[in-house]
């Protein structure tokens, strides 16, 4: 749940980039059964996110006063109903889209912004690097959960604000990884050679740095999705993210909290979805890391 980076164990750039590199990575990835299983789970979740509204058996907003909090296995409602009588299975399926959206979007935004900051700092070096990285260090002084809640708490509840806060939370760790990998690349002979042959800074970054840096940073960002999912749903759980009646797992967990004595297992269902998603992304990131031979 916390973003921890051991400075002594920052990933190293991936150097062997022959034509068959991605084939090798793919083959190695397929050999790891756990990672492949995790990838399949992620795939199923993505399918649910895209086609959920068509796959779901009922209308996620259709409430019924008579059928409130029916148990798992109730006729017509295989996963029971929630506190307003809405079908749980439908809401869990339809909720996939919003839950994945608020969990993955911040990591993508932070990946773009953080890589940009990190590569700029790493490639420029000198006082620019020092200045940028010291600023980043300030954000490290806040535990990620605290920073996310502090930001979205002051900005106010809502999806946009929770996306902004989580993006800010994930920029520093991504920038740090990108900076460290870029600094290592910058000292390699092929960069010197490119510079000696007259290539400009932009060309060197585009041709030599990006290709070697983005891989490790991408894998690192994948591992952040698990954290992001938990935090994003956590914000909704606190009432700071998605607003009712939208189906989203964290918010569903919040509104079902009152039901833990009457229908405990229904109340726990949305959290199980967050748990499964988070495990799948963690294992997928582990698999990618070892397939790409990134030491971390």
């Amino acid at each position: 749940m916390h973003i921890t980076i051991d400075p002594k164990k920052l990933p190293e750039p991936v150097m062997q980039r022959s034509a068959g590199y991605w084939q090798t990575v793919g083959r190695r990835f397929l050999q790891e059964k756990v990672a492949v299983a995790a990838a399949l789970v992620v795939l199923v979740l993505l399918v649910l996110a895209i086609f959920g509204p068509w796959l779901a058996p009922m209308d996620p907003y259709q409430s019924s006063m008579l059928k409130r909090l029916k148990p798992i296995g109730f006729p017509g409602h295989p996963f029971g109903t929630d506190e307003l009588g809405r079908d749980m299975l439908t809401r869990l399926i339809v909720g996939t889209r919003l839950s994945l959206f608020i969990g993955i979007t911040p990591v993508i935004c932070a990946f773009v912004i953080g890589s940009f900051i990190g590569i700029t700092a790493g490639y420029t070096g000198g006082w620019v690097n020092t200045g940028m990285m010291r600023t980043i260090d300030v954000f490290y002084a806040f535990p990620s959960v605290l920073l996310a809640i502090a930001l979205s708490g002051t900005l106010g509840a809502g999806i946009t604000n929770s996306l902004i806060s989580l993006t800010i939370v994930f920029i520093p760790p991504i920038a740090r990884v990108a900076e460290s990998v870029t600094t290592q690349i910058r000292g390699r002979d092929f960069v010197d050679a490119a510079r000696a042959s007259g290539a400009g800074a932009f060309t060197i970054v585009r041709v030599h740095v990006l290709g070697n840096v983005l891989g490790p940073v991408f894998v690192y960002a994948t591992s952040l999705i698990a954290v992001s999912m938990i935090l994003a749903s956590g914000l909704s759980f606190l009432g700071l993210g998605v607003k009712p009646p939208e189906p989203e797992w964290g918010l569903m967990l919040n509104t079902l909290r009152t039901a833990i004595y009457t229908q405990p297992w229904i109340a726990a269902l949305p959290g199980a979805m967050i748990f499964i998603t988070s495990i799948a992304f963690n294992l997928l990131a582990d698999g990618l890391r070892s397939a790409m031979e990134i030491k971390q």
Binding site: T4, R134, A150, L238, G271
Partner: protein, 317 residues
């Protein structure tokens, strides 16, 4: 050594200043007038101006920042808008409760994390290792607020062994050394301990495997040292890192307890933050975040210094 301490301290000061700046900026980042929650909706322009003057909002940002930091250094974090009590005393009372919970959680997490990590690293690639690795993946992947709910369901709702929330019988929030109070702490602490457990066991597994692969272990074996003797060497080598990770985890738990405290209605900093956010009590919000972040910075500093003292291999330059 003194030079190292001095350098580390000098490095921490700008970070502390930066943290203060971020906390200060939070209030001005908030949409709307920071005074909006205390002003009556039909407040006259005159009253608004007087209050602005009183809270210092009519001065320039740098001026406000300097005077805010100056007062914060003297322990004055302003007055809570909702309760009209000094923010500092409110926060300190809550920090005590959170610290107690976080320390117990870290202790549980450390003990089990070390156990799993050592076993996994020592018997690498055995089924024990796989089991321990699985536990640690589950530990870092679980949404802890959900785990808290599940534990309440199992231990409070079904088995009725432990209370579902609060810090003591009858809603008391002060600590006394008795079994009743300890029972209230148990579920939130166990919920909280899962994260440090996963992280510590992951770190230790890699560390122990690393140490066992080193040449001096072969040397010790050649010398005829028993497994127990070698185990002692491994512990000695792994201890500084393990303790450092534990210290940092305590810091993360202090700042990250808000979700768990909400689930268990625990009267700590998390509940305070939650209340501050929903009552738009900006001085309280600002003060709580500042204190928690400062705790974290200081803890980081202590961990760094202690680790360097314990481990002669770390260079002090």
């Amino acid at each position: 050594m003194l030079v190292f301490l001095w350098r580390r301290l000098v490095y921490t000061l700008p970070i502390m200043l930066g943290v203060a700046l971020v906390c200060f900026a939070l209030v001005h980042l908030a949409p709307g007038d920071p005074l909006v929650s205390i002003l009556p909706p039909d407040a006259s322009a005159e009253l608004q101006a007087t209050l602005k003057e009183l809270y210092g909002f009519n001065r320039s940002y740098p001026e406000q920042f300097v005077s805010w930091v100056w007062r914060a250094l003297q322990g004055d974090l302003g007055t809570s808008i909702a309760s009209n009590r000094p923010v500092f005393s409110e926060v300190m009372k809550a920090v005590g409760n959170t610290l107690r919970l976080a320390m117990l959680a870290t202790l549980i997490g450390f003990l089990f994390g070390c156990l799993f990590g050592f076993v996994a690293g020592y018997f690498q690639n055995s089924w024990l290792d796989k089991l321990a690795s699985l536990t640690s993946v589950l530990g870092v992947s679980v949404p802890h607020y959900w785990l808290g709910m599940v534990l309440v369901i199992v231990f409070s709702s079904i088995l009725m062994w432990l209370p579902p929330g609060g810090a003591g019988p009858g809603g008391s929030s002060d600590w006394t050394w008795d079994w009743e109070h300890f029972k209230h702490m148990l579920l939130p602490a166990i919920t909280m301990s899962v994260i440090p457990m996963g992280i510590i066991s992951r770190t230790l597994r890699a560390l122990v495997a690393d140490i066992l692969a080193q040449e001096f272990i072969v040397g010790l074996r050649a010398k005829g040292l028993t497994d127990v003797g070698i185990f002692m060497h491994v512990i000695k080598n792994a201890a500084p890192t393990a303790l450092a990770v534990m210290g940092l985890q305590l810091g993360y738990l202090l700042g990250g307890s808000i979700l768990i405290e909400t689930v268990f209605s625990w009267p700590g900093t998390g509940s305070l933050l939650n209340a501050a956010i929903f009552q738009r009590d900006l001085p309280l919000l600002q003060g709580t975040i500042l204190v928690l972040a400062m705790f974290f910075v200081v803890l980081n500093l202590i961990v760094d210094v202690v680790q360097t003292l314990l481990d002669p291999r770390i260079s002090r330059s």
